[in-house]
């Protein structure tokens, strides 16, 4: 793994291993029906020996296909699942043993679940957080003010949660996770199902939070743009194993992924000829050009626009699951 190289260039103080996993495993016993009364037992290794360190104040993307073990890892980091093996520490605390003590120092947002009180106005859930985390009154007021301002919640506080849109509810959930000043924030798919504007709002908020409050953030997502805009470091997990740990650009290099520039021309033309990209598809006046994901689209667009009658264009991001699937396939064959 590249973990070691990655952490040594930062610092080796106590902050370096703020979140520390050493060979963490989670094995589930699954019983399958094989006959009328016969059950076959077999084991599923949801997390199969994961080791990594997250420095205090870092913002790390944790990605992988469905069923890779991401949520299982998050559940172990919050203490609601006990690891089957290995050692796991968050802020020096063993989550499974001291779940309640840890709970006061972490915040969790599950994109597909809500912590808010469904039938009651949003503000009621915040008042509950105030009591639950025993937040000093002044701190509570300040944090709530700030969240309301930055997440645009002022008009929503008196609205019952069941009447909120998905984007509004997600912003409400993020605020709920932050009122007690958590040192660590786990985000499990925080932008899932959101429209572009809501996604941008959430991302901007998270970026500020990390930069200003120094909150350590572990972000699970399927949206590569989340990672691109927020995280310098990304960890890829598949089949319960850490496949990659490093900068996002490196992931594209490892995965040899490509982005696609889709151009609409004034008229039908033969395949365009530009450096650093190749035409992969032509359909009337529309052409698809593939270029390395790590490269910037700007010079390519400039080159096309300078030489050809360009009407419209769009850039398609590489499919992260495809990149990971390719990585996994490479690993198996090599």
């Amino acid at each position: 793994m590249t973990t070691a190289e990655h952490t040594t260039d930062i610092d080796d103080g106590p902050d370096a291993g703020f979140i520390a996993l050493d060979g963490v495993e989670k094995v589930f016993d699954v019983r399958r029906k094989t006959g009328f009364l016969r059950r076959e037992r077999h084991q599923v290794r949801a997390v199969d020996g994961i080791t990594f360190r997250v420095r205090r104040g870092e913002m790390v993307g944790y990605i992988g296909p469905n069923g890779a073990g991401k949520s299982t890892t998050i559940k172990m980091l919050t203490g609601i699942l006990t690891p089957s093996g290995g050692r796991l520490r968050v802020a020096g605390i063993d989550p499974a043993r001291e779940r309640t003590r840890l709970a006061r120092r972490i915040g969790v947002v599950f994109g597909q679940r809500t912590t808010l009180w469904w039938d009651l106005p949003l503000i009621d859930s915040y008042r509950l957080m105030h009591r639950m985390y025993r937040i000093p009154d002044r701190r509570y007021a300040e944090n709530l003010d700030r969240c309301v301002q930055l997440l645009d919640l002022a008009d929503l506080l008196d609205v019952p949660v069941r009447q909120l849109s998905l984007g509004q509810r997600m912003r409400g959930d993020i605020a709920a996770a932050l009122l007690h000043d958590p040192e660590v924030l786990y985000l499990d798919e925080p932008t899932i199902g959101l429209d572009v504007v809501s996604k941008a709002k959430v991302r901007e908020f998270l970026r500020d939070l990390n930069a200003e409050a120094g909150t350590t953030v572990l972000l699970t997502t399927h949206d590569l743009t989340d990672i691109e805009q927020l995280c310098r470091r990304v960890m890829v997990i598949d089949h319960g194993r850490l496949m990659y740990d490093g900068p996002l650009d490196g992931l594209h290099e490892v995965g040899e992924s490509e982005r696609t520039l889709v151009v609409d021309l004034e008229r039908e033309l033969p395949p365009l000829e530009v450096e650093s990209a190749r035409v992969v598809k032509v359909e009337g006046p529309r052409q698809w050009l593939a270029f390395p994901a790590a490269a910037s689209a700007a010079p390519l667009v400039a080159a096309v626009a300078a030489r050809y009658p360009l009407v419209d264009l769009s850039v398609r991001e590489p499919d992260i699951e495809a990149v990971i699937a390719k990585m996994y396939a490479d690993r198996v064959t090599s």
């Binding site: 104040g57 599950f110 009591r131 000093p136 944090n143 007690h180 409050a213």
Partner: protein, 307 residues
Amino acid sequence: MPGTGGPVRTRLLRFGPERTRARWPGAGRDSLKGMCVRSGRFRLYEAVAAGSFRRYATYRIATLAGVFTNTVFGVILTYTYIALWDEKPGLGGYDQAEALTYVWIGQALLTTVAVMGGGFEDELMTRIRTGDVAIDLYRPADLQAWWLAGDLGRAAFQLLARGVAPMVFGGIFFSLALPGDALTWLAATVAVLLGVLVSFALRFLVALSAFWLIDGAGVAQIAWLASMFFSGMLLPLNVFPGALGEIARALPWSALMQVPADVFLGKHTGADLLATYAFQAGWAAVLLAGGRLLQSVATRRVVVQGG
């Protein structure tokens, strides 16, 4: 299980990372006053109960419909009981006025002690099945205490909203044996509270079965049947003769309705009243302890569903 139960502790809490922060409030200036946290646990569960009360209060039409249904059922049962007690005066040790009072207490307590279920347990079972229970588990709050507080809030609302109106209706249109002294009303209120505790403890066990069964509907149905019969909802348990009656009166469900009704009717006084409370409190303690045990096993060994 770590983090559940345990004594109320006063603890120094540190809020937020220690690094200096620019605009995020509270950066590096923990007020001493704020750091000492006292009796926060009770205030949390108080807030949960109050929230639950308001939550049920949100659905006014449903409440009105419920009051209407309770009243109609009360009238039907009243005439059935009149017929029955005309045939057999003094059945179960009640005269006719007491029997009719029993009917209207039953309607008043039906939802309060959740004889037919329909409290938190459906929601908790759904949360276990879908995995939303993960949210309940990572919070710095105890699962059982959290849902108990919520259920107490619900019971308080339903006693006021769905208990008072049918009782008043029954009192106006039929001749009931209402207690004359405030002390009996108070004694009955205590018995109702203990009944709610036993009811919660039973339904908590039912709900937690979903950790193993995924779909707890079957267990919920058996619990519903047992509760309907053994609480004394259909007929007072005093009516049943011999061993069946003895057993029915010793089971925890009798604490839900039979016992509070008898306290209301002044059947238990003095030392007998204390023994009656002890019976209810004993079942509550045993069943709550059972729920706590199940909870600790469930959270340690069982898979939290969903990704």
